[in-house]
């Protein structure tokens, strides 16, 4: 049953709320394993393709679900050991919210009905708010308030967009269930004006959640204030879910013959996000904020890739997979760094290679990966996007794209070099590193590496199925 992927974490999450932390931590990992099992069953279609009134297993949804489930497995493992080191007054709330967050994101991945998708995206905001809020400091309060309010207003606008899409159906007297599958089938009959209006509102709404500029303002605050496992989940999984919402509408636009319009809008928002993050990353003083701006950049890259289409669409999907793996690894390393130094300020860190050799190496390798250098996967995906853009003749867009990439690399490399290689006078560290907390980020990075050398055929096929509806192909 497809619905199990969100029902099981939902029930487990509610139970963990009322159980002591001792039971909550193992429950987190156990649920992750069960979730991964059900995702694998769906992935290999062992339960058969499913199409209900509200849910369906689409290739793009399965891709997002698989990434989510895989990440959660490692993040929950990390959380178990992380929690041993930090003081948290309400740990059951944190563990429970992690599971409820997993549940709502899984629901996004399999939702087919337009409004059910909306409900699930709004639920992700509400379930993740306690995760950001958990330290109850002044800063985390501010971050949570901004997050909840900006995202709720954004997503309310997406609801308006959904109503416009439904109205475009009524305008042309088409009456089908308002699920993406049935709408795609009748897309050519829909009223184009209202469909365009709907797409814009949905893009603004879910774009807020995805962190596209200029609606990204909540993202650096939320990512820097949340505890590191939550940041990793926010950046690696939540942003993909929001992207999925936009992608489903983009597919609908393509089916309605309005693909050119939605592509251009996506490219514009994507490039804006890349430029904004390039400007803000240059003088960053906080390493978690630096990673957050890098997430905005990468979401911009994905939007540009999907907008260009063809080969670039394949690159964008690949980018989504590798970004999730590398970025969550970086955030988990950042958690270790924060535990060790007790500060998020870059100037107060340094000498990581000597003080934290394992974490230092992982963090640096992750940085190499996120900047798009071989041997990590982001190199291939960015190359594919650039090639696809040149093939499509989008020279202006790709110039801005490459310019932003260079700027971001220049800005971030200075900061990371300082953190990893610079000398530090006092060797006083709060919590020494341990294999238990260093291993999950290493494994996530290794997965990205393995997927470069050997991309399993089922992943390759799923990506192709996911992008075929917007004219994306590998050979194009």
């Amino acid at each position: 049953m497809l619905q199990f992927v969100f029902l099981i974490p939902l029930l487990a999450g509610i139970a963990v709320f009322f159980l002591p932390a001792k039971i909550g931590r193992p429950a987190l990992f156990t649920t992750a394993v069960i979730h991964a099992t059900f995702t694998a069953l769906e992935w290999f279609k062992l339960t058969g393709p499913l199409q209900t009134k509200y849910f369906s297993n689409t290739p793009e949804g399965m891709l997002v679900l698989a990434i989510l489930s895989f990440l959660f497995l490692f993040i929950s493992l990390y959380t178990v050991f992380y929690m041993g080191e930090v003081e948290m007054s309400k740990e059951p709330v944190f563990n429970g919210s992690m599971l409820l967050f997993l549940s709502s994101m899984s629901m996004v991945a399999i939702a087919d009905h337009i409004i059910v998708l909306w409900i699930a995206v709004e639920a992700t905001t509400l379930m993740s708010a306690p995760l950001i809020f958990v330290h109850r400091s002044k800063e985390s309060l501010e971050a949570t308030w901004k997050y909840v309010l900006i995202c709720s207003v954004g997503i309310a606008l997406a609801l308006l967009g959904c109503f416009f899409v439904i109205f475009s159906m009524e305008m042309s007297n088409v009456h089908v269930p308002i699920s993406f599958t049935s709408l795609n089938a009748v897309a050519s009959q829909l009223n184009p004006v209202w469909l365009k209006a709907g797409f814009i509102f949905i893009l603004i709404g879910y774009g807020t959640k995805m962190g596209l500029a200029p609606m990204h303002t909540w993202l650096p605050d939320a990512h820097s204030e949340a505890p590191s496992p939550a940041s990793a989940l926010l950046s690696g999984a939540l942003l993909n879910c929001a992207f999925l919402g936009i992608y489903r509408c983009h597919q609908l636009m393509f089916a309605a013959g309005l693909g050119g319009y939605s592509s251009n809008v996506l490219i514009a928002f994507g490039l804006a996000s890349m430029l904004v993050s390039a400007v803000f990353i240059l003088n960053q003083t906080d390493y978690k904020r630096m990673l957050a701006y890098s997430s905005i950049e990468n979401m911009g890259i994905i939007a540009v890739g999907i907008g260009i289409g063809g080969l670039a669409a394949f690159g964008a999907m690949l980018h989504m997979i590798h970004h999730s793996l590398v970025k969550s690894s970086l955030f988990l390393s950042a958690g270790n760094i924060l535990l060790g130094y007790g500060t998020k300020v870059i100037d107060k860190t340094g000498g990581m290679l000597r003080l934290f050799p394992k974490t230092g190496m992982t963090f640096f390798a992750g940085f190499v990966g996120i900047s798009g250098f071989p041997p990590f996967g982001l190199f291939i995906s960015e190359l594919l996007i650039i090639l696809g853009a040149i093939k499509a003749g989008r020279y202006v867009a790709i110039s801005i794209f490459i310019f932003s990439l260079i700027l971001i690399f220049a800005g971030a490399s200075r900061l990371v070099m300082q953190m990893v290689f610079s000398e530090r006078d006092n060797d006083s560290i709060l919590v020494p590193e341990k294999w238990s907390r260093a291993l999950p980020p290493i494994l996530l990075l290794l997965t990205s590496l393995i997927l470069v050398i050997w991309l399993p055929d089922s992943i390759y096929q799923t990506i192709q199925n996911a992008i075929s509806s917007i004219g994306g192909t590998v050979n194009g």
């Binding site: 409004i115 639920a123 002044k138 800063e139 207003v153 309310a156 009524e170």
Partner: protein, 218 residues
């Protein structure tokens, strides 16, 4: 003959304008309760041709329960807990906000006349005008006020506006009450989460002024 739905829409517009003018937090909460109840009743009086079905009436009671009782109840608990009872020094003044609200009505009439080329009756047109004004006024309130509670109320007014637009545009939605129920549940939880954060802001800062929330920036 004046259609009964027009009276309801006029009441909604009135509550919107009052909310832009009001500076007492408790009065705003009462307004949002009133507006919630009237907004819930709009589907009942709008399309009497189809008759009142049992489902429609049940859903009306559910809406009133959430929008008219539970959410305002939560908000009034929050207002009673905070130290301040008034909005002081709004970012945009009361007269200016009220004026902006009036302009919003004109704009929404313009939008409705130009974009709304459907073959629907005048009552639907008026509904669209009211809905767009409500949504716009909610946004104004959200941006023009400093107190966190007023911002939540702005969000709720905006949500009411979107609900009205949904009522005007999409009859299809009303056939699936499961979905509407879930939307309502989301709204309720949103207010609950906002209320909890609000309470903590009040504890930490001894105020609910969002101007105090300015630590995080680049």
């Amino acid at each position: 003959m004046i259609h009964i739905s027009n009276i309801f829409l006029a009441l909604i517009l009135l509550s919107v304008l009052l909310s832009l003018r009001s500076n007492r937090l408790m009065a705003l909460v009462k307004l949002i309760a009133f507006q919630g109840i009237v907004v819930s009743a709009v589907p009942l009086v709008l399309d009497t041709a189809h008759g009142l079905t049992f489902k429609l009436i049940m859903f009306f009671f559910l809406l009133v329960l959430v929008k008219g009782v539970l959410i305002p109840g939560l908000m009034s608990i929050a207002v009673n807990k905070v130290v301040v009872s008034r909005e002081i020094e709004p970012i945009i003044g009361y007269h200016a906000s009220l004026f902006a609200g009036l302009i919003m009505i004109v704009v929404s009439v313009y939008i409705t006349n130009n974009l709304y080329f459907a073959s629907m009756g005048t009552s639907h047109k008026l509904l669209m005008v009211t809905a767009i004004t409500t949504m716009g006024a909610g946004l104004i309130l959200l941006m023009a006020r400093r107190k966190a509670i007023t911002q939540v109320i702005g969000y709720l007014i905006m949500e009411n506006g979107i609900y009205l637009i949904g009522t005007a545009l999409a009859k299809e939605v009303h056939t699936q009450y499961v979905v509407e129920f879930a939307v309502l549940l989301d709204l309720l939880v949103a207010v609950l989460v906002m209320g909890i954060v609000l309470n903590d802001i009040n504890h930490t800062f001894d105020d609910v002024d969002t101007a105090l929330l300015g630590q995080l920036k680049d």
